[in-house]
Structures are given as structure tokens and as C-alpha cells.
Amino acid sequence: MALFLDILVAFSLVAIAWRIMRAPGHFQAVVLFITFGLLLSLAWARLNSPDIALAEAAVGAGLAGVLLLDTLRAVAQPGKVKTGAHFSWLLLPCLLLAGLLTLSIIHIQPDSQGLARAVEAGMQTTSLEYPVTAVLLDFRGYDTWLELGVLLAAVLGLLCVRRKKSIRAPLLPAPAEPVGRWLISILLPLILLVGGFLLWLGAFAPGGAFQAGVVWAAGGVLLWQAGHPSLGALPVSLWRTGAVLGFALFWLLAATALIRNEPMLTHPQAKAWILAVEYAAALSIAVCLTSLAIGGQKSEDRNQKSEVRDQRSGDRCQITNNR
């Protein structure tokens, strides 16, 4: 039964990947890609990796889908007929490569232990109880630190390409309201709660900063999709602080360790310290991913236009305040 399920998931993944490449319409390809993300998270669940399954379901199927659909709408060429994907002889070398790689994995002797034992030995020295979170925040702090740096760099790059001076500019309310506000009022508290729960869970069970941040980012995107003014009403300084907080705390950690003449990123074994870093990382991931999702909007090249929009968002704020 388990074998059957594995084969089914594997076959569906390959078949969908094939359809993504061969789909004639771009919209079809994007929707298939969202399905692909969901199936991939099923594969993660089959591979005993609930952390990755959670992150994949939110990122691969959720945020990536929003980004792709949004861009598809922006770059659509109405007059032009969508050119279909042509079959290409390039498939042959790619299949050859697949054959060679498959030959190579037959000779791999899977080492079932890997680094699991080393992590287990290290667990005594850390105050965290869940190994994946311990690896992320304690043993391999560099990875998480630099990953937050990559996120920050992507946000900055986006601002540069869109020629925006602040994160605030992209935070204008969306013109349309595809999701009713009543839906937001039901979903948003739930999303906040689920994110917070995942964050709290991360210390001793599957969950943690990544999953929580991604879930919160989904909430932020939903808020923006509904044309809700609350995101635009937030002060810019708050956004900037949120975006750099995780990176800055890691930096502080590294700097203080150097001052105390210890190896970089070692820290006093206090749970509060680790939790502070984890919470800051979750907040930064949420803010950065939300900025990435909404920041791609067309930049305002007319001051007048942005003023009108500002005014409108101000009006909306007043309306909500009056309620």
C-alpha cells in the first residue's frame, strides 16, 4: 500500500512537471505549478519531513502562485495570441542526462545515519528540544543568518528595480477586492493564531520560524488582495524595522560573541535568547515575503497619481476607523 502511494505521488509529480513544460497557455502552466507545489508537499509528508511539507504548502503552492499569477496579469499581451510550447529536440540530451544521473544513484550507498548522530550528540548542549529547529537556530546559525540576508537583499533589489524609495510605496491598497472583507475578518485571526502556534511549537515539535513567517506572509498578502488599507497605514519605520530585525539580531549575536573572544555565533545558552532570535526571524521572514509579494506592483511615476492613491487610502482608513 505504501509502495503504491509512493509510486502514485512520484508518477503524478513527473506527469505534472511534463504538463507544466508542455502546456500551451501560460495561465495553465501557472495553475499546474500550484498543483505541483501541493503534490510536492505530499511527497515531503511521505518522506517524514513535516517541516518542509508545511513550508512547501505555504510557499510553493501559496506565495509562488500569487506571485506568478500577479506577474502573468501584469505582463499579459492582450492582442497577442499565446504562443504554445513547441516540442524541442533538446529533450533528448536532457533525458540522456537523466539516464546518467539515474545510473549514478544506483551506486550510492545510502548512509542511513548521516549527521543525525552528530545532531543527537549536540542536543545536550542546546536548550531546544526539536532537532530541526536546533540545527536552524543553533548549530547552523550561519545558514539562517545568510538566508535572512538573501531575503533582505531580494527586497532591496526589488525596490531598486521598481525605483521605489521606501517599502511603503508598494503597500498601497489593491484596486480590486477579489476577496470579501468578511472573509478576511474570519481568516486573518486564524492565520495569526496558526502562525503563532507554529512558532511556539518549533521549540519541541515540527514547526518554527520559517513556517510561522510564511503563514503570516500569506495573511499579509491576503490582506492586500482584499484591498484592505491596514497594511498601507502602517508607518514605514515599522516595516523597515520588521524587515531587518532578524538579520540584525543575528548580526548582534555574532558581534557580541567576537567581543567576548568566542567563536562567531556562539551565545549564552539561554532559551530566551534563542527564542528572541527565532521570533525576530519569523517576523522578518513574514515582512520580507509580504513585501516581495506586493512590492512588484507598477511603480508610481506620477506624483499626482500617488497622491490621489494616498488620499484614497487615507479615506479608507477613516472609513474603517469610523466603523
Binding site: H26, A85, V132, D143, L151, F210, A293
Partner: protein
């Protein structure tokens, strides 16, 4: 043990299909999607190798690295899509024009 081979071979096929799509699609959006499929293949291979018998504890280090990788991949996707939009705004095209050289490309 069968799980390792099933998912590893799936991962290789995903990687190669993604590579194929990246090579032959001219549309930038489709290229970015293909790149994401490739990334999915790499992550899947990493985890399938870390969890060969699908039982008991999974090596936490690859899991943590894939988690990091997923977030980096979405950052990359967002930035690439932003560049694609910029290219569309500047040229009205959804693909890169590779026929012109740098000298006559300033028009």
C-alpha cells in the same frame, strides 16, 4: 529502501524536465516556472537521500537546509519575476531578444 529509488529517480526526472523547459521556453515567466521545478527536484533528491528507508528519524541537517533553500528559492523567484516585469515595461516583450548585439541594443 524502495522509497529512496522512487523519490530519487523522480527528483532526477523533475530536474531534467525543468532543465529542458528552461532551455526551450522563450517566455521568461515559463523559464522561471521551469527553474522552480528544477529546484523542487534538487530538494526532493536531497531529502530522499537523507531518508532512505522512510522510517524512524530523518537526518535533521538536510531538512533544515531544504527549509532554508525553499525560502531562498521564493526570494529568487520574486526578484526574477520583478525583473521580467521590468523587461516587459521597457520592451513590451515577455522574452529576451537574443538576436541583437550589444552595439545596436540601445534603441
Amino acid at each position: 529502501m524502495h522509497g529512496f529509488y522512487i523519490y530519487a529517480i523522480t527528483a532526477i526526472l523533475l530536474f531534467c524536465l525543468g532543465l529542458w523547459g528552461l532551455a526551450f521556453h522563450r517566455n521568461l515567466l515559463r523559464k522561471i516556472v521551469a527553474l522552480n521545478v528544477m529546484a523542487g527536484g534538487v530538494f526532493l533528491f536531497f531529502i530522499s537521500i537523507a531518508n532512505p528507508d522512510q522510517s524512524g528519524e530523518v537526518d535533521p541537517v538536510p531538512q533544515a537546509m531544504v527549509l532554508t533553500g525553499i525560502v531562498v528559492a521564493i526570494s529568487l523567484t520574486a526578484f526574477a519575476l520583478c525583473l521580467a516585469r521590468r523587461i516587459h515595461e521597457k520592451t513590451g516583450q515577455n522574452e529576451l531578444d537574443t538576436s541583437c548585439s550589444i552595439e545596436d541594443g540601445d534603441g
